[in-house]
């Protein structure tokens, strides 16, 4: 994606995540921030120097410019940038960008070839359009929380801001699809992604299950609604996940556990029968699995060629050899924070591999470079704009 230039006016999580995906794949992303405090995510504690750990996690590979968009000269800079960019990302509440003069219509008028992506809680249409929304609003309303957690226990959230992050992925897909279409049509367009829509899309089969059967899906702990045993069990010293996805694996699994009698029990013969008798089966299996440690079971499962996994805490994952060999933990030298380890990019392209080119910018780090190199401002002009606090 080198040669694709993205203007990123977003802040907090979903837009910055979307722009990070594009940046990781080689796009030239220009992050536009306010001159006062910049992206509010910089201030979400804990911080190192002026920047939060949160901000550092999702803004690498971007260049940063800080503009006071209340000033006409700053708006002029933004208009000039719009004319030379291929995509535009924002995640304000619908209407806010238009009030600033940079809604989809205005921006597409300035540059009819630009792809303008909006990410919001509810999208740019519908009765809730202007309601305030955050990740947790989308998690709650989408139904994903109703199927996550233990049965008959209080609700839990998905432990990562999945509403923000899935919408960020979907907006990246929308931008790329629109850029591809632009290759043939020569036209830009508006990409409108909503966190609520995004989470509804990933409910897997829950909607069809409900609309066909009228049964309302509910939370099942670690269990899968239609595959059994596909869950976590206790061992002598920790949990083991046993994703037994078909009947052939089931027979092997019974033998590996020394439970030949279960293999022959008609009650558990097929996946649908096992799913029906899920509770009873779980007790029988856990009783057997409690007899050995995770380590002992892992050797037995390896011998039988059975799938299994531990439940890693984040420290274990960060130390994992596969994760590291896949370059999923990368390191940056940050001008203020020093050495920071963060996640790598998971989209591995053979000819245009993702690259970690730059640490997250400090506020206004590339303002001068962008004004001079891309827009042709002189040193004098930059100095004057800085003196008048139009830029940082």
């Amino acid at each position: 994606m080198s040669g694709v230039r993205v203007l990123d006016l977003s802040r907090l999580l979903p837009g910055p995540f979307c722009a990070m995906i594009l940046a990781d794949l080689g796009a030239d992303v220009i992050k536009v921030e306010s001159t006062l405090l910049g992206d509010p995510m910089r201030a979400v504690p804990p911080q190192i120097g002026t920047d939060s750990w949160y901000f550092l996690s999702i803004n690498r590979n971007k260049k940063g410019i800080a503009l006071d968009l209340k000033a006409e000269e700053a708006k002029e800079i933004l208009r000039k940038l719009i004319k030379i960019c291929d995509a535009f990302v924002e995640n304000f509440r619908p209407g806010a960008m238009s009030r600033l003069g940079f809604g989809p219509e205005e921006v597409l008028r300035l540059n009819p070839k630009i792809v303008y992506a909006s990410i919001s809680g509810f999208g740019h249409s519908g009765p809730y359009m202007e309601r305030p929304a955050y990740d947790m609003v989308a998690q709650g309303m989408s139904g994903i929380m109703s199927i996550t957690g233990e049965e008959e226990r209080p609700p839990v959230r998905v432990g990562t801001s999945i509403g923000d992050i899935i919408a960020g992925h979907q907006a990246a897909i929308g931008i790329l699809a629109a850029l591809l279409w632009r290759e043939r049509s020569g036209q830009g367009q508006h990409v409108d992604c909503a966190m609520l829509d995004g989470l509804v899309y990933i409910l897997e089969n829950a909607v069809v299950r409900y609309t066909i059967s009228a049964e309302v899906p509910h939370a099942l702990g670690t269990a899968h609604p239609s595959i059994t045993p596909f869950q976590a069990f206790r061992t002598k010293d920790g949990y083991i996940i046993t994703p037994i996805g078909n009947d052939a694996l089931w027979l092997k699994f019974c033998r590996a556990l020394g439970l030949e009698e279960l293999a022959n029990d008609p009650k558990f013969k097929t996946n649908s029968k096992r799913t029906k008798h899920r509770g009873e089966l779980a007790q029988l299996l856990e009783r057997a699995l409690m007899g050995k440690t995770y380590q002992e079971w892992s050797q037995i499962f390896d011998e039988w060629g059975l799938p299994y996994a531990p439940i890693n805490s984040v420290d274990k994952m960060v130390a994992d050899s596969q994760v590291n060999q896949r370059e999923m933990i990368v390191e940056f030298e940050h001008p203020i924070a020093g050495e920071v380890k963060m996640v790598g990019c998971p989209i591995k392209l053979s000819q245009t591999p993702p690259q970690m080119r730059m640490p997250p910018p400090v506020l206004g780090q590339h303002t001068e470079e962008i004004l001079k190199d891309l827009l042709g401002y002189s040193s004098e002009e930059v100095k004057e704009l800085r003196r008048r606090k139009v830029i940082v």
Copy 2:
């Protein structure tokens, strides 16, 4: 994406999800299945006729061809299709496609312009490359389960197969980025996405939090690790989510709850102080919120302009006016299942909007059409291939 032709050899969840995203955006997707039973997802109960609800959920907008790839004539058909397609999707264990003669090298040799996307549990490199993997393996190993659930309670999974689904999204991004690069270079490439990598990427700030502080993130129920109160509380008759994302909202929130004294309490003045005293604060807030019903609070929060949300079950979400007005619930007439409601596409493009064109195919539904219209086979040839069970 009309005019982009995708050959989809994947089955179960991650590859079919990836191909559905592309199909929803207008790509012509040809789903290649085995003649015997087709995509094993068709058989995961419960079923309607020959197809499962699960299969129906993730295969609309695709055409289906069924080939017995053990037969040389079927391989020849596949080779012909490879030569006229833009992208190729598979999610077998690394090495399996090469043994069949259709690994990335072979396919790129047949068509150097094709984008070949692989989705697997661990990716096409690293020490675990050939290990069996399922969604739950990636969920367990990535750390996402360790930060999802209640504190000090048994683990839970994310209630949807997020490992499969996130890798499906990332592969779609990889394919589109590669197609865009192909516009300039004329070259195809291999896109290698792993479920484990994909989930590590979406841990938000958990990795930086751990690598900087050495504190291991853990599950927090509905609470956010660094924003408070950003969680669900009980009311008199159900839960309410209160995503109070900044200090200004906090003051309004205290007043709306009639808890002026909290607004003035220095212990809770800033987000970081509230996060530090999260447990104590939650008790105080829940005591107040238990005094009224969800409905009563929603009116009060509306008056104050405060964000809030219910925790919807799937039936409530399916009936929601916003979800429906955004066309996130769509209906198909399926040849066997009859009328089926499922989720719509969340990536709303203004010029090339997503379209629901076709219900999920029954096994081999478009075999004849594809052989004749795309590859120029005669009716006689098709009949003969069918007689010899090379195709269904």
